[in-house]
């Protein structure tokens, strides 16, 4: 199993985002992920710019967006930025995309809310073609391209991977058509995960794709400390407050207001190294397959930098080896 980190990206100083990313690479994490939200008092809006800075300071880790809210951008812009990132990182880039679920964000950019699914599908097709073909002509519902090419080209062959975040059935199935993996965010509980992975695998096979080629990926809230009490006090409490400030306020498809204990039970990976390990094993057992890549969201707003570093280190030293060494 590989492990990714969603570093601090909730305000200033920006330096901390870079330092956590560099530390993650040193500790053996495999990937770094950046987020996108608009019109929000502490979430960064430009995931690909943040990745550019991270790419410039790292050598080995994969860098990816989780997720670019694709319907808010023109596909040529995203294809170019992604290719530039793939070039600058020597082929370490993964494009994570999603339709978004905050109507106000669509209003900012004048993108009709009801069009978001269809736009994403069309844009993903265009981006894939711009990466693969020198010149693209496309006549779609939202975009028309007449002999358009991009430069620089991505360095990965045949192209960077596309990972898709989605929740409702139609969208999860769409992920299997337009993407290389479906990536659930941290908000889905076990029951929803089981259901969604089922849709994804079903559609993946219906598309005639090889099940062995599907990467099984998941993002979770993760916080690790020497004792369960410290993990809750230094980490869990802040994660819960973040949920109150974000998901509980938004009309999130899978998450309504609930208690801290509810979140810990079926969603979070939080506690001592041993508890974290057992929770990951439980997820795999209940889901019925081995995960290929676990993305750890470890720094929610309000946490102290030192506590997060400690969590990153503990998790890397005492939890990750258990899963990376297995065959």
């Amino acid at each position: 199993m590989k492990f990714g980190l969603i570093p601090y990206q909730w305000g200033h100083p920006f330096q901390e985002t870079l330092e956590q990313s560099v530390l993650a690479e040193e500790l053996g994490y495999d990937s770094i992920w950046t987020v996108e939200h608009h019109n929000h008092p502490f979430i960064y809006p430009a995931p690909l710019l943040v990745l550019a800075a991270i790419a410039a300071r790292t050598q080995r880790v994969a860098i990816g967006s989780y997720v670019v809210v694709l319907p808010l951008s023109h596909p040529v812009r995203v294809a170019e930025e992604a290719a530039q990132l793939d070039l600058m990182s020597n082929g370490r880039f993964v494009l994570g995309i999603g339709v978004g679920y905050v109507p106000e964000e669509n209003a900012m950019f004048g993108v009709p809310w009801r069009e978001r699914g269809a736009r994403m599908e069309e844009e993903a097709k265009i981006i894939t073609r711009l990466w693969l073909e020198e010149r693209v002509t496309y006549d779609g519902r939202f975009f028309k391209l007449d002999n358009v090419g991009i430069w620089p080209r991505p360095v990965q062959t045949p192209r960077p991977r596309i990972w898709v975040g989605a929740w409702v059935e139609a969208a999860v199935r769409r992920s299997a058509r337009i993407g290389d993996a479906w990536v659930p965010g941290p908000t889905a509980g076990l029951a929803d995960l089981q259901k969604c992975y089922g849709w994804f695998r079903d559609e993946w096979q219906a598309q005639g794709k090889d099940p062995a080629q599907a990467e099984m990926v998941m993002m979770r809230e993760v916080f690790c400390a020497e004792t369960a009490e410290k993990a809750k006090e230094l980490g869990g409490k802040h994660i819960y407050r973040f949920y109150e400030e974000t998901y509980f306020k938004w009309d999130h498809p899978l998450l309504k207001r609930c208690s801290y204990e509810d979140l810990v039970r079926d969603r979070f990976i939080i506690g001592t190294p041993d508890q974290c390990m057992r929770q990951i094993e439980r997820f795999e057992k209940e889901l019925g397959f081995r995960l290929d890549h676990l993305l750890c969201k470890m720094h929610d707003p309000g946490m102290a930098f030192g506590d997060v570093r400690n969590s990153m280190k503990l998790f890397a030293k005492e939890v990750m080896p258990h899963f990376t060494s297995r065959r």
Partner: protein, 327 residues
């Protein structure tokens, strides 16, 4: 006086980062990247490229010269430039321009005839979002309900906006929407004098101070220890480049100039020669126009990277020390 360097971005982006870090070490004050789409050797995603450079430098100003604003939604530009200002810890300038390649407009689905009104409205939106919260905008091209961007730029009130322009209407627009007018390298001293007259007259009519603290301008610059070497390695390829580009284009100052004598093309326009000659010429631009931030383009296609790097070093060693104290 300040000195900047326009960085070329070849397929190997590590060379661009190397040039930027060298420029910082040599004592230059700023580095710039131009926006061109689908053009070998150039970058479409200037913010992504600049974010990487910002993450690898500490002192030097970084900015697009110029960002083609009409291609983008101004909320994206405001957000991207603010994030860049965070990554660079307050070291950015936003250079903006109209663009002039019709094919590029078609790629982004933007009508070419809308470019001036999109630039003007775009800059208005960017300023509002940088300096205020809950911005409501009802314009010709963009409308959105209460919107704030986060994070805001580090620089207060905001990063300077420099506007590229040539014709009288565009100079008046630059006076209206910009914090400085930034002329490109193609106009000679006489033409610049006339442009400055129009620009400053427009500033005065708007009740703005005629002169800003920074008076920037770009020039073609190439230095070598002897006049002959400067011509062979820099002047001759520069002449060829102008023949292949501006002299054949409908350029406001160079159209129909294919047979322009070398002395007329180079005189009072390009800074090509020995360090002593360059010092005299730059002093003249300073005295006649007030120019106090010279952006040097040292490498056009045809000039080798080695020759450009040597010129960059020579300029830093033997020109900058003589002029740095001029204000």
């Amino acid at each position: 006086m300040k000195f900047g360097l326009l960085i070329e971005c070849d397929k190997d982006f590590s060379e661009a980062i190397e040039e930027a870090t060298l420029a910082e070490r040599y004592g230059y004050d700023s580095v710039w990247i131009a926006e061109h789409h689908n053009y070998d050797g150039y970058v479409g995603s200037v913010f992504v490229a600049l974010a990487a450079i910002a993450a690898r430098t500490e002192r030097i100003t970084v900015g697009p010269y110029v960002l083609i604003v009409p291609f983008y939604h101004p909320v994206h530009v405001a957000e991207d430039a603010a994030i860049l200002d965070r990554i660079a810890n307050g070291r950015t300038v936003l250079g903006v321009g109209l663009g002039y390649v019709e094919q590029e407009f078609a790629s982004f689905g933007i009508p070419y005839r809308e470019r001036t009104s999109r630039l003007e409205e775009g800059v208005e939106v960017i300023r509002k979002l940088w300096t205020g919260d809950d911005v409501v905008h009802e314009g010709k091209h963009f409308r959105f309900p209460k919107t704030s961007i986060y994070p805001k730029p580090i620089q207060k009130p905001h990063p300077p906006i420099w506007v590229g322009a040539w014709v009288p209407k565009a100079l008046q627009r630059a006076a209206r929407i910009g914090d400085a007018w930034v002329p490109g390298p193609t106009a000679n001293l006489e033409q610049l004098r006339e442009c400055y007259r129009l620009y400053r007259e427009a500033r005065r009519a708007l009740g703005k101070p005629e002169r800003e603290p920074e008076i920037p301008g770009a020039r073609e610059v190439f230095l070598a220890p002897t006049k002959e070497q400067a011509w062979a390695e820099g002047g001759a390829p520069l002449h060829q480049f102008y023949k292949a580009t501006y002299l054949g284009w409908p350029h406001p100052f160079l159209a129909g100039g294919m047979d322009m004598p070398v002395s007329e093309l180079f005189g009072d326009r390009f800074i090509v020669g020995t360090p002593e000659e360059a010092v005299r010429q730059i002093q003249r631009f300073h005295h006649e126009l007030g120019l106090n931030h010279l952006i040097c383009r040292m490498r056009v296609p045809g000039i080798s990277r080695e020759a450009a790097l040597a010129s960059m070093k020579l300029f830093a060693d033997e020109v900058i020390p003589h002029l740095a104290d001029i204000t």
